[in-house]
């Protein structure tokens, strides 16, 4: 895989630009309900966490899919093919992280496809709370994120 999304909740200001740009990137219109990234705001803890698909190496969604609509492409991204999908929603149940969803609006399941290698959520995040990094950069980032979680938990 060429790169991956990394989150830093401490930097997130809850503006939801990521949700907006994700929906715009996939549909040409704005609808946060159709975004593959979701921002969760915990008011009293004053913590905001963006969450999206992490392209698991052992992807439960793809493993459970009965029609092969979910598969890993050459870039290592787990992609969803509408044409093969029977909208059984097994993948929604199977994802241990809740990162693949069904939309009653489009009557379809949807998930992050890393926008073909230029994820809009990271591109437009104004604070660096979501970044798209080369896979070999991730370990350093990961430690920084872990540090932040540790600090956050200590403060909570």
């Amino acid at each position: 895989m060429t790169g991956q999304l990394v989150i830093d909740p401490k930097r997130c200001v809850a503006c939801r630009t990521c949700e907006l740009m994700c929906s715009f990137g996939h549909h040409d219109y704005f609808n946060p309900r159709l975004a593959c990234v979701s921002v969760f705001n915990y008011e009293y803890a004053a913590v905001t966490v963006p969450v999206m698909c992490l392209q698991c190496d052992e992807a439960s969604c793809a493993a459970v899919c009965p029609t092969g609509a979910l598969s890993r492409n050459a870039d290592g991204v787990v992609v969803h093919e509408d044409a093969k999908c029977i909208v059984c929603k097994m993948c929604v149940s199977a994802c241990p992280l809740g990162n693949i969803a069904y939309s009653p609006i489009t009557k379809n399941v949807f998930k992050c496809d890393l926008c073909g290698g230029e994820p809009k959520c990271a591109l437009f995040c104004p604070t660096g709370a979501i970044t798209f990094v080369e896979s070999d950069e991730v370990l350093a980032k990961k430690r920084a994120v872990a540090d932040n979680f540790k600090k956050t938990l200590e403060e909570a």
Binding site: V13, C15, F24, Y29, F30, N31, I105
Partner: protein, 602 residues
């Protein structure tokens, strides 16, 4: 311009007297001519409401209106406007708010809501896409904004809430309409209009899209504008790091911080104690952004439990930091935060309240208010008294009953209306008009009374944006202000935050607007809509019999005693004449028939 391009094309009209509602098509010609939000809301209001309507009667209408960019990823496009005749001023009342409520309304399928009449018992409006209900709100009446919001989310699920607190229910003349707890359609007392209608709250959940006419072009324009905002030292760095409170030390240094109700000097030795820099070191928990905003000037703050001012909420931003702080000579940041928390919780405008307390302090020190009326000795510098009076006003208790009328009516009650630091009965905010001539002209001519966000002349006069002007000079301020007022009207009306204009200007606003609505108008054509909106507001105020453009006598006659602007008064008359001329108005400040004709307002 067509339905579906940035506009939803639907307005919800609710008759609270009969408890009925219906949808109607958005008037697209008006949407084109008056842009949206502030302009379009005002147009609907002016067409439907008698300018002489009593603001605190059910005949006054209340309009929520979004802009064409609201709900999109344009720069800071989470804004909406609430319009009614303002109880505090009797002017057109248009109050702008951010957060996520406005976009959610569009996602639910409505550009705006028009409330007519009044209910015979407390109600709230529930909107879940096309499901609409007027629900009983008896159990919410009397509850503060935070409690009401929590209860409604508990009751209705994942919704955005716009509501009033007890002050709005009681008719406090500067009660605000609050959304998502701490965002405010703050000025002019529109909360009281909601209160008189027995409308406690509007809750909304929406799952639909907001589309734009030319997605590719829109992406290009918003990308460009966002890059400018993020690279700019004010919008990308200063305000992001310290919030609007970054202004405290800056304004103090130029000697433009109004002190002691305008009676004091111009330099506050303790300004740093209540500054944004200090807030970051002390009570700031995190920065918070409104919908789609890269600036994120919002401050989540917490005062620890062991403080007498313990609390959790948002702010203060600069104006509240000044009103409860410098203007009252208070340098205890915890007390300032606490007073601001109470304003958010009870739904009050902190500019008017802080300035009213400062006015009471002056009247008390000169013996014009008997101590027995207040209940305790009141002097400048008493942080406890500021918090105590804020609570008394919030609860309508004792002297709080006079405070909730605002400084003009309170000072008038004690025979000193001239000591109210207000224009058209609305308090001026945190910039001394004697030290910054451009803001003197702005205060005097603002269509909603004393206000800084109707043409923010601090940008050129102090911050040098987009060009640096000399704040002590009057020449050229009339035409500069006209441009700022028109551009601000445009900015408020497209649905983006005024703060973006620290970093960007007309080309970025017009660029995003054009691609969203599918227009090929020039920048100048689009700016002309701002001028049209300004004249529409002015015409309403004239029909409503609003008093002439002036300033409190103190600012016109009492020279500043110290600081860089020592010896200066507000030189209003010369600037007014210039201003009326560039506006194409009569020397009395009235739009001519010719001007109205030119703007298609004839």
């Amino acid at each position: 311009m067509a339905v579906g391009n940035a506009w939803i094309g639907t307005v919800l009209r609710v008759d609270l007297t009969t408890g009925t509602w219906g949808t109607e098509p958005l008037r697209m010609k008006d949407a084109n001519d008056f842009v949206g939000a502030r302009g379009l809301g005002t147009k609907y209001f002016c067409d439907e409401c008698d300018p002489n309507v009593e603001p605190l009667s059910v005949e006054n209408k209340l309009i929520y209106m979004t802009g064409p960019l609201t709900g999109t990823a344009a720069t800071s496009a989470g804004r909406f406007e609430v319009v009614a005749k303002a109880p505090l001023t009797g002017t057109i009342g248009a109050a702008n708010s951010g957060g996520h409520f406005g976009p959610e309304l569009k996602f639910a399928g409505y550009d705006g809501i028009i409330f007519e009449g009044g209910a015979d018992h407390p109600v709230y409006l529930y909107i879940n896409d096309d499901r609409i209900e007027l629900r009983d709100a008896t159990h919410l009446w009397g509850k503060d904004v935070h409690k009401t919001t929590d209860m409604l989310i508990e009751e209705c699920g994942n919704v955005r809430v716009s509501c009033i607190g007890p002050t709005g229910e009681r008719g406090c003349l500067f009660s605000a309409i609050m959304n998502e707890k701490n965002r405010a359609a703050g000025r002019g007392g529109l909360g009281a209009v909601m209160g008189v209608k027995n409308l406690k709250a509007v809750v909304v959940r929406g799952t639909g899209p907001v589309k734009v006419a030319r997605p590719e072009g829109f992406l290009r324009e918003l990308t460009k504008a966002r890059a400018i905002i993020q690279a700019h030292p004010v919008t990308g760095t200063g305000m992001a790091a310290y919030g609007t409170q970054i202004l405290m030390n800056i304004l103090n240094e130029v000697g433009a911080l109004p002190l002691c109700n305008g009676r004091g000097g111009s330099i506050f030795d303790h300004a740093d104690e209540i500054s944004g820099e200090k807030l970051s070191e002390t009570y700031l928990v995190k920065n918070q952004g409104c919908f789609g905003c890269s600036i994120a000037c919002g401050r989540v703050t917490r005062i620890p439990d062991d403080s007498p001012y313990a609390g959790f909420g948002e702010g203060p931003e600069y104006e509240a930091g000044w009103s409860f702080g410098a203007d009252c000579q208070v340098d205890d940041l915890a007390a300032v935060c606490k007073a601001n928390f109470i304003c958010n919780e009870y739904g009050m405008d902190p500019i008017t309240l802080g300035a009213t307390i400062a006015c009471a302090m002056e009247l008390s020190e000169m013996g014009a208010i008997p101590e027995s009326d207040i209940g305790f000795p009141l002097r400048f510098g008493d942080s406890d008294a500021v918090v105590r009076l804020t609570k008394m006003c919030a609860e309508g208790e004792g002297f709080g009953k006079l405070l909730e009328l605002g400084s003009y009516r309170m000072a008038e009650h004690y025979g000193h209306a001239e000591l109210s630091m207000s224009v058209k009965k609305q308090e001026m905010p945190a910039y001394d008009a004697r030290a910054i001539q451009g803001i003197a002209l702005e205060y005097a001519t603002s269509n909603r009374g004393g206000c800084h966000v109707r043409g923010y002349m601090i940008a050129p006069e102090v911050l040098g944006l987009p060009i640096k002007t000399d704040p002590l000079v009057t020449e050229g301020k009339g035409s500069l202000l006209k441009t700022f007022q028109d551009l601000t009207a445009l900015c408020d009306s497209v649905g983006i935050c005024l703060f973006t204009t620290f970093g960007m200007g007309l080309p970025e606003i017009a660029g995003q607007y054009r691609e969203a609505v599918g227009s090929d108008e020039s920048d100048e054509d689009i700016l002309l809509k701002g001028e049209r909106i300004w004249n529409l507001e002015k015409r309403f105020n004239m029909a409503a019999g609003v008093e002439k453009d002036t300033l409190p006598p103190r600012l016109l006659r009492e020279a500043l005693p110290s600081g860089p602007a020592k010896g200066k008064v507000a030189e209003l008359q010369t600037m007014l004449a210039d201003y009326y001329e560039v506006r194409g108005w009569t020397s009395e400040g009235e739009p001519t028939d010719e001007k109205l004709e030119q703007l298609s307002l004839g």
